[in-house]
């Protein structure tokens, strides 16, 4: 758990004092990722560096799990915090294995234990220890170097990690993959992480909470969803962009927006069942399920269906199908791609769980009943 208490930094410049960070206070719960976001020069990196005392605060304190970092030896402090910078900073004179073992060696770990740990970490990021342990950084691709850089920060298993634009040096094509990999790793490791970024989309994707900075002052500290729904002031509003409602789509899950109360039938049922069970005016769709509960077809425009025969005679293909665990952005994208006004939601096993129409999407994003 990280707590910043009125953290301030004022630099002595040739023209007088330069306030870089002003009275920043916030708290990051254990196991969460907090992203410091803001334009260039807003003080986010300075604030980050005050946590591991690479820059000494002018006033204010930092508490790590209740301990005041100002009272601890800075060298000891830094060895207990994982630190990743944008340029990665892998030491070119050391092999990958030696790079990963840097902090364990500083802490006096046993050689064998350190090497075993390095092998374990390399496995975790998909780099076979046998071929990568003794390679030098200049023999790795950019993405591989970045992974080793992250893993190096995890070597001594620190509870806290500080990352300064760690994905900035990777090309955009690989960046999404590496971000996903990092999030999966965080699922398992549950480290308390502060990540500095200037990329709003990255922040929305990675953060449990976002802290927006401007000219050294904290503007807003909220979850991505709350931030996008209710920006605290005009600066934040402008920073989030005029398409922030669209950005909200990516932080809302299909499961939280979909309509669960839907008429379901099996294909052999007579059409008469449909009439008896039609419930929602304006959303006259019935979904046909097989014996396992998977959607195999749907019947739209229930009033126009003739009143005789089995349901399967009037059935259409059940498309598109989206996962309940996906975000609305993916679902809306499928709907637009197929040119439909609804999507069928299934769980991981493929069973039907709900229906998504434009009405549900608008209601979820705007928080209000839509008048469609």
């Amino acid at each position: 758990m990280i707590e910043l208490d009125r953290l301030t930094k004022i630099f002595e410049g040739p023209q007088g004092e330069v306030p870089a960070v002003c009275e920043v206070s916030l708290r990051v719960p254990a196991g969460e990722i907090c992203v410091f976001l803001g334009p260039s020069g807003c003080g986010k990196t300075t604030t980050l560096k005050m946590i591991n005392r690479l820059i000494e605060p002018t006033s204010g304190s930092v508490f790590l799990n209740g301990e005041d970092t100002g009272k601890v030896n800075p060298i000891t402090l830094r060895r207990s915090i994982g630190y990743v910078i944008q340029q990665i900073g892998l030491f070119p004179n050391k092999t990958v294995g030696e790079n990963i073992c840097v902090v364990p060696d500083l802490l006096g770990w046993d050689r064998r234990r350190a090497r075993a740990r390095a092998a374990e970490l390399l496995e975790m990021v998909g780099l076979a220890p046998d071929s990568f342990m003794d390679r030098f950084p200049n023999e790795l691709s950019g993405g591989q170097q970045q992974r080793v850089g992250v893993v190096r920060a995890l070597a001594a298993d620190p509870p806290v990690m500080l990352m300064d634009e760690p994905f900035g040096a990777i090309d955009p094509i690989n960046r999404a993959g590496i971000q996903d990999e990092f999030l999966r790793m965080q699922e398992r490791l549950k480290k308390t992480i502060i990540l500095v970024s200037h990329d709003l989309d990255e922040a929305i994707k990675m953060a449990d909470r976002i802290a927006i900075f401007r000219s050294g002052k904290l503007q807003q500290y909220a979850t991505p969803s709350d931030l996008l729904a209710e920006p605290a002031n005009e600066f934040v509003q402008d920073f989030l962009g005029s398409d922030r409602a669209l950005k909200r789509l990516s932080v809302i899950s299909v499961a939280s927006a979909m309509l669960r109360d839907v008429v379901t039938v099996s294909p052999e049922d007579p059409v008469a069942n449909l009439e008896a069970r039609s419930k929602h005016p304006g959303r006259e769709v019935a979904v046909c399920l097989d014996d396992a509960g998977r959607p195999i077809g749907m019947v739209k425009d229930l009033q126009l269906v003739p009143s005789e025969g089995p349901v399967k005679a009037h059935m259409q293909a059940a498309e598109p199908v989206v996962q309940a665990g996906d975000d609305l952005r993916t679902a809306v994208s499928s709907m637009l791609a197929q040119g439909t006004s609804l999507a069928i939601c299934a769980d991981e096993a493929g069973r039907f769980v709900g229906l998504l129409t434009w009405r549900e999407v608008v209601a979820a994003v705007s928080g209000r009943e839509a008048s469609i």
Binding site: N52, L54, I75, T76, L77, R78, R79, S80, Y83, I85, Q86, Q87, I88, G89, L90, F91, P92, N93, K94, T95, V102, V103, L106, F136, P137, N138, E139, A153, L162
Partner: protein
């Protein structure tokens, strides 16, 4: 002979061919037997020469590397350029003048010669140490500090290893200068192969001159070869431009 084989062998064949050609010329012209007449002198003076180089060069390495390291420290940034200029000035003074000055203050013999050689050998090493350490990317130093290394540890584990190739390169150049300047030590009474060279000039005896000059050249080449090998093996593969 296939192209690949020629490309691999020719760097080694060429120097051997040149040396063979010189040897054959020496033997044919009768100079070889004249040179061998000086055998004992060559061995005695050769050792003296090596001792001068070892002392002068060795002391230079031991003082110049720490000096260059100190100059590269951030605390001394304002003074470093100025102090380097002082060193540069030292290199513009002609070698003979330096030896003459050291003779004036230290008398004749080995001591002023070693002092003079030390002074001459200093500059390339200081300059290379300074620029090699300054050229270490600052984000490596930042990463090292952020991980919890003390300043000493940053220097020994990160900065020095990454500057090592350039530093040894400076030592290589400096020692070549040292070996080449050492013959002048004869002029202030320190002996060395310069005795054969200068006496040979005075007596217009080509064999004597060559008896001094050729071993000096051989020592220079060998020194460069040995330091080159040290440079190859001491610098890790990851930062060694000549090692793949």
């Amino acid at each position: 002979m296939s192209r690949g084989l020629w490309e691999r062998l020719s760097p080694r064949l060429l120097p051997i061919a040149v040396v063979l050609a010189i040897a054959i010329w020496l033997i044919e012209s009768g100079l070889a037997s004249d040179l061998l007449w000086f055998q004992e002198d060559i061995i005695y003076l050769g050792w003296q020469h090596l001792a001068l180089v070892a002392w002068g060069g060795g002391l230079a390495i031991l003082t110049a590397v720490p000096a260059g390291a100190l100059l590269s420290r951030p605390a001394l940034r304002r003074w470093s350029e100025l102090l380097l200029q002082v060193f540069n000035l030292g290199s513009t003074i002609p070698t003979l003048a330096i030896l003459a000055l050291s003779m004036t203050f230290l008398g004749i013999g080995t001591l002023p010669a070693v002092f003079g050689l030390w002074a001459i050998t200093l500059l390339p090493i200081v300059r290379n140490t300074y620029s090699g350490l300054r050229a270490v990317p600052s984000h490596l130093v930042e990463a090292a500090r952020g991980m919890g290394m003390t300043s000493w540890q940053v220097f020994w584990k990160v900065e020095l290893p990454n500057a090592l190739f350039v530093i040894i390169g400076g030592i290589r150049t400096a020692l070549a200068v040292c070996v080449g300047t050492a013959p002048l030590a004869f002029l202030i009474g320190a002996g060395g192969l310069g005795e054969l060279i200068f006496t040979g000039i005075a007596l217009n005896d080509i064999a004597m001159m060559l008896a001094g000059a050729i071993p000096t050249a051989v020592i220079a080449v060998l020194t460069d070869f040995v330091v080159g090998k040290i440079q190859y093996y001491a610098v890790p593969r990851g930062i060694n431009p000549v090692r793949s």
